[in-house]
C-alpha cells in the first residue's frame, strides 16, 4: 500500500431526480459501509508503531581477537562470542529497512582493522563489506557508526533479511584488534499508507 487508500465515491452525479432517491440512498449507504470496512481492515493490519526494532547483538566491553580473512576483503565474523547475525522478518507492507552498526576499534600498525556489516535477503544487492563503520589505526581508538537504508523497492515484504557483522584487515602488518562496545541493529519501517 504505497499511496492513500482508494475510497469509493458517493454516486451523487448519478441521481437525476427524487424518483430515484430511495434506491440511490441505499447505494450510497452500501458504499459507505464498504469504505468503513476497508479502513478497519487497514487499521487491523497497520499497528500504530511506525517501525519494528529487531533485537540487537552487542558486546559491552573490550574484546581482543585475531582477525580472520585476507587483507582488503571483508569477511563475516563467525565468532559467536563477539557478535552474531540478526534476522528480521519484514512487515507487510514495508517502507524500508535501516541497518546500524556502532563500535570502537583499536589496532596496532600503520593501518589496522575495520569492522562493518552486510545485509542479505531477497531483493537486496549483495555488497559484501560495503558498509564499514570503524577502524583502528596507529594504536588509536576510533569510534563511529554506520547506517544503511534499504528502500522499499529493494525489499520483499514478509521475507527475512539478515545483518551479518564483518571485519577486514587493512594490511598484512597486523592481524589482531581490540574491539569494544560493538552493536548491530536493524529497524524495519512499516508502510502506513
Amino acid at each position: 500500500m504505497t499511496g492513500p487508500m482508494t475510497f469509493l465515491s458517493s454516486p451523487k452525479p448519478l441521481l437525476p431526480d427524487q424518483c430515484d432517491a430511495v434506491d440511490a440512498f441505499g447505494d450510497v449507504s452500501a458504499i459507505a459501509a464498504d469504505n468503513y470496512s476497508r479502513f478497519n481492515t487497514y487499521l487491523t493490519n497497520s499497528p500504530n508503531a511506525p517501525f519494528v526494532h529487531v533485537g540487537q547483538s552487542q558486546i559491552s566491553g573490550w574484546e581482543y581477537r585475531t582477525v580472520s580473512g585476507t587483507t582488503g576483503g571483508f569477511v563475516d565474523i563467525t565468532d559467536a562470542t563477539l557478535l552474531t547475525p540478526i534476522t528480521i522478518t519484514l512487515p507487510n507492507p514495508c517502507a524500508g529497512l535501516l541497518g546500524v552498526m556502532i563500535g570502537n576499534v583499536v589496532a596496532s600498525g600503520r593501518l589496522g582493522v575495520a569492522v562493518g556489516y552486510r545485509l542479505s535477503g531477497p531483493g537486496i544487492p549483495t555488497a559484501v563489506g560495503a558498509y564499514a563503520t570503524a577502524i583502528g589505526v596507529n594504536n588509536q581508538q576510533y569510534g563511529a557508526s554506520r547506517l544503511y537504508l534499504a528502500l522499499a523497492s529493494e525489499l520483499v515484504p514478509g521475507q527475512q533479511v539478515t545483518l551479518y557483522p564483518q571485519w577486514r584487515l587493512e594490511n598484512a602488518i597486523v592481524d589482531y584488534a581490540y574491539v569494544g562496545a560493538l552493536q548491530i541493529h536493524m529497524y524495519a519501517f512499516r508502510d502506513t499508507l
Binding site: 492513500p4 475510497f7 468503513y36 499508507l193
Partner: protein, 187 residues
C-alpha cells in the same frame, strides 16, 4: 489507535419517501466523502518518504581549497518531494575517507553534502563529515532538520561534495569511497 474504529451506521431505514430520501442522499454523499478524505489526511501523518544514492566513482583529480560537488555521474543526487506537514528530515551521509601520504600529514579532506531547492537551511558548509589525515575514517553522519526549513511540494536535491585542503602540498594520497547518502522525510 490500535483497535478498529466503531463507525456509526448509516440511517438508511429512516425514510421511505422519495422527497426525504433525495435530501438525505445528497447530505450523506457530501458528508461521507468529506469524512473519508479526513481519514486519508490523518493517515498521511504516518508516512515515510525515502530517497538514497550510492557513490559510483571519485573525482580525478580532487580540486582543492573549496567545497566541490561530486558530479551526478560520480555520485548520483537523490531527490525527494517535500511532503506537506513534514515534521523533520533525517539525512545520513556515509563514506570512507583516506589519506595515506606520510609527507602530507597536515592535509585534510571533508565529505559532506548540500541541499538544492525547496529549503532555507543555513550554513550548509558546516555539515562536513570526515577528516582524513594520515588515516582512514569510516563513518556515518546523521542530521535532523526541522520541517519548517523546507518548502512543501518542492523538490529537494541532495548533492554530495568534498573539501580538500592540501595546505601547500600537492593533491595526492587521498580518496573517498564506499559513499552512501539517504534521506527520510518524517511526516
Amino acid at each position: 489507535m490500535s483497535n478498529p474504529i466503531s463507525f456509526v451506521a448509516t440511517p438508511k431505514d429512516l425514510t421511505t419517501d422519495n422527497a426525504d430520501a433525495y435530501d438525505a442522499f445528497n447530505q450523506q454523499g457530501a458528508v461521507t466523502d468529506a469524512n473519508f478524505e479526513r481519514i486519508n489526511t490523518y493517515l498521511r501523518g504516518w508516512k515515510l518518504i525515502t530517497a538514497k544514492s550510492t557513490q559510483v566513482s571519485e573525482p580525478s583529480p580532487y580540486l582543492t581549497n573549496a567545497w566541490t560537488d561530486f558530479t551526478a555521474g560520480q555520485w548520483p543526487r537523490p531527490t525527494i518531494v517535500i511532503p506537506a506537514r513534514m515534521n523533520c528530515l533525517m539525512v545520513v551521509i556515509s563514506g570512507v575517507v583516506e589519506h595515506f601520504n606520510p609527507a602530507h600529514t597536515d592535509q585534510y579532506l571533508h565529505l559532506a553534502y548540500r541541499f538544492s531547492g525547496a529549503n532555507s537551511v543555513p550554513d550548509q558548509p558546516a555539515y562536513w563529515l570526515l577528516r582524513g589525515q594520515w588515516s582512514q575514517t569510516m563513518a556515518s553522519r546523521v542530521s535532523f532538520f526541522p520541517g519548517s526549513q523546507f518548502t512543501a511540494g518542492g523538490t529537494l536535491t541532495l548533492i554530495p561534495r568534498y573539501y580538500l585542503n592540501p595546505l601547500g602540498f600537492t593533491s595526492v594520497g587521498h580518496t573517498i569511497y564506499s559513499g552512501n547518502i539517504f534521506a527520510i522525510a518524517l511526516v
